[in-house]
Amino acid sequence: MSSAGRATASLRHRLAERGIDSTLFLLVPGLVVAVALFVYPFSYGIGLTIQPTAAMREQWGGGALANYVAFFRDPFVFDSVWLTMRLALPAALFNVLASVPVAMVLRHRFRGKRLLTSLLVLPITLGTVLTAQGLLIFAGRQGWINRVLLELGMIDEPLKLVNNYLGVMLSLIITGFPFAFLLISSYLSGIDPSLEQAAKTLGAGWWQRFRRIVLPLLAPGLATTFVLTFVLAFSVFPSARLVGDAMGETRVMSLMAFRAFGEQNDYAMASTIALMMGAVELVVVVAVLGLRSLLYRGTTGGKG
């Protein structure tokens, strides 16, 4: 048998070698849904963006690309990129950075741990609209915070905590933090606790242990968590409208897309803004994941 190069096994075995077997049928439901609900509508949306309305062609030129010209040339539209970024980046950064110490503490066993964890995660169940409602009642002009501070004489007039940038930021933190916290907790539990014990016996103090052992092993997880919370925050819509300043400092991209769609009946421009929204997110995601690929990403020894 001089079959060094040629496999002599049956076709079935050779196909299996390349990952082709009957389990591939498991992909069918997912593929059908993906094509029907994503690929087709997405392609259709892209098609829409190059069919600008006559008014847009007239105003911005550029022929079929008039919507894109409008997006980049119209400061009212284009500024929304910066306005959204200004909310999403700090919110995602805060959610990730604030989760780390909390998740570190909650690794240990102590009385009331479960209660505390539940409280931290509870906002996930609320949804953005309920959160916005709560913020308005709690932090609005006539809200509890302002009433208490006024009664105590600590302020002379109500603090402006909602219907502005701060209100949206608070809402993004309330809804985004639990996600970040849960993700980072699970990444942390994947790090073998004996690594820190080993670092202890080698003379490392808590900061050195965190800086030299935990952080490098956690960093890829932090990057992933940042990406997810960033995408979540970047597509902010209900809270930007409900607790924000919808036509001013929280005029985010999703609001602009909604405005083009709902108020101007310009589906083509709405699609263009939505597409550009995705493009901006993609740039940030690719940049962060690019940085992540430079980090150590092997095993962290724990239970995963």
């Binding site: 004996s194 014990q197 080993a198 670092a199 202890k200 080698l202 490392a204 030299r212 095993t299």
Partner: protein, 377 residues
């Protein structure tokens, strides 16, 4: 390297949720000694090690190094090296950087770190792997990195927590020799936790056998091997046959016992009594497989000077190279013996043993604890 005289544990204890994981551990370790803590999982040996390292707070007692109290120090200030069962190598750092970590933490000058790290890596023969990540090494190599990382700091004490339990049998033997060599050549003081009596006997100068958080016996390998203080210790020291029995008569350090559950008619054995025994006491008889002689039933009369004759049926014969391991069913119990030639499976045989090779222990283990500590003192 061990820059101290003695390490003293006094009444060290640790409770977990109302249960004593470790209680009343008294032990003095002299510089240069190799002490093994031996026992099954859950006996408190790892708890003791973690308490020593400072990774677990004590609930009772104190630890002193040359009279200076150290149980109040955090682990990073104790200066003990520790080798973990899982190795606990930093997966994102190369072998070199793993070994250098402790030196960096101590603020050792860079040039000195370089040379000491190289020396430590050479010591465990990993020179060519210095730049690799732990994940690229085999289990035995990772184990050697863990040892290098612990000894590069020239610690006063090295703590090893079942360091060989994740290795295969052959590698375990090699590493055992390696650990003993390092201990001797570096003049380390080592405390070694294991559940493997062979490992403990071959490595340690002194053994501490533990059970349910308490010390059962402390002594040299020879002392424990030849005169275990209880059937529990005997069980660990290779007395594979531990048989329940009742004392018929006891005098002059010898006891005649009747085996429980042996073939009908009652089998009587004479053995060396360990501790005070009197007629009617429930006891455990311990005999090593290599001390049980397998004879044919027809032989007869060859029992003079022996402890007695146990009749049985051969049920298993295993080839062990120079000899055969024979399993003999005697009544309800299976006895383990050795034979130079393989007996027929299913054949009737008799088992005999010299009187001084049959040890008779009181059944209760709690009763022997004071005696075990007497041996320790």
């Amino acid at each position: 390297m061990s820059d101290f005289e003695s390490l003293e544990l006094r009444g060290v204890g640790r409770r977990f949720g109302g249960v004593d994981a470790l209680a009343g551990l008294d032990l003095t370790i002299r510089a240069g000694e190799f002490v093994a803590l031996l026992g099954p999982s859950g006996c408190g040996k790892s708890t003791a090690l973690n308490c020593l390292a400072g990774l677990l707070p004590l609930t009772h007692g104190e630890i002193r190094l040359d009279g200076r109290r150290i149980d109040t120090l955090p682990p990073e200030r104790r200066g003990f090296g520790m080798v973990f069962q899982s190795y606990a190598l930093f997966p994102h750092l190369s072998v070199e950087k793993n070994v250098a970590f402790g030196l960096q933490m101590q603020g050792v000058p860079r040039a000195e770190i370089g040379s000491r790290v190289r020396a430590a890596i050479d010591l465990v023969k990993l020179g060519e792997h210095a730049k690799k990540l732990p994940g690229q090494l085999s289990g035995g190599q990772q184990q050697r990195v863990a040892i290098a990382r612990a000894v590069v700091l020239e610690p006063s004490l090295v703590l090893m927590d079942e360091p060989l339990s994740n290795l295969d049998a052959k590698l375990r033997l090699d590493m055992r020799t390696e650990i003993r060599r390092l201990h001797q050549s570096l003049g380390l003081t080592t405390i070694y936790v294991t559940h493997d009596q062979e490992e403990a006997l071959s490595l340690a100068d002194r053994l501490v056998v533990m059970r349910e958080g308490r010390v059962q016996q402390v002594g040299t390998p020879d002392e424990l091997y030849e005169s275990p203080a209880s059937w529990y210790v005997a069980d660990f020291m290779g007395y594979r046959n531990i048989l329940p029995a009742t004392v018929v008569a006891a005098s002059g350090g010898e006891a005649v016992v009747e085996l429980a559950g042996a073939a009908d008619g009652g089998v009587r054995l004479t053995g060396r009594a360990v501790g005070a025994l009197s007629a009617g006491d429930r006891v455990r008889v311990a005999v090593r497989p290599e001390d049980l002689h397998v004879g044919s039933t027809g032989g007869g009369g060859s029992t003079s000077g022996g402890a007695g004759v146990i009749p049985g049926t051969v049920s298993v014969v295993e080839y062990h190279g120079r000899e055969f391991a024979v399993g003999v069913q005697a009544g309800d119990t299976m006895l383990h013996a050795r034979a130079a030639t393989a007996p027929d499976v299913g054949g009737a045989v008799t088992l005999t043993a010299p009187v001084d090779r049959v040890l008779v222990f009181p059944e209760s283990l709690d009763a022997v604890v004071p005696q075990a500590q007497e041996v320790a003192a």
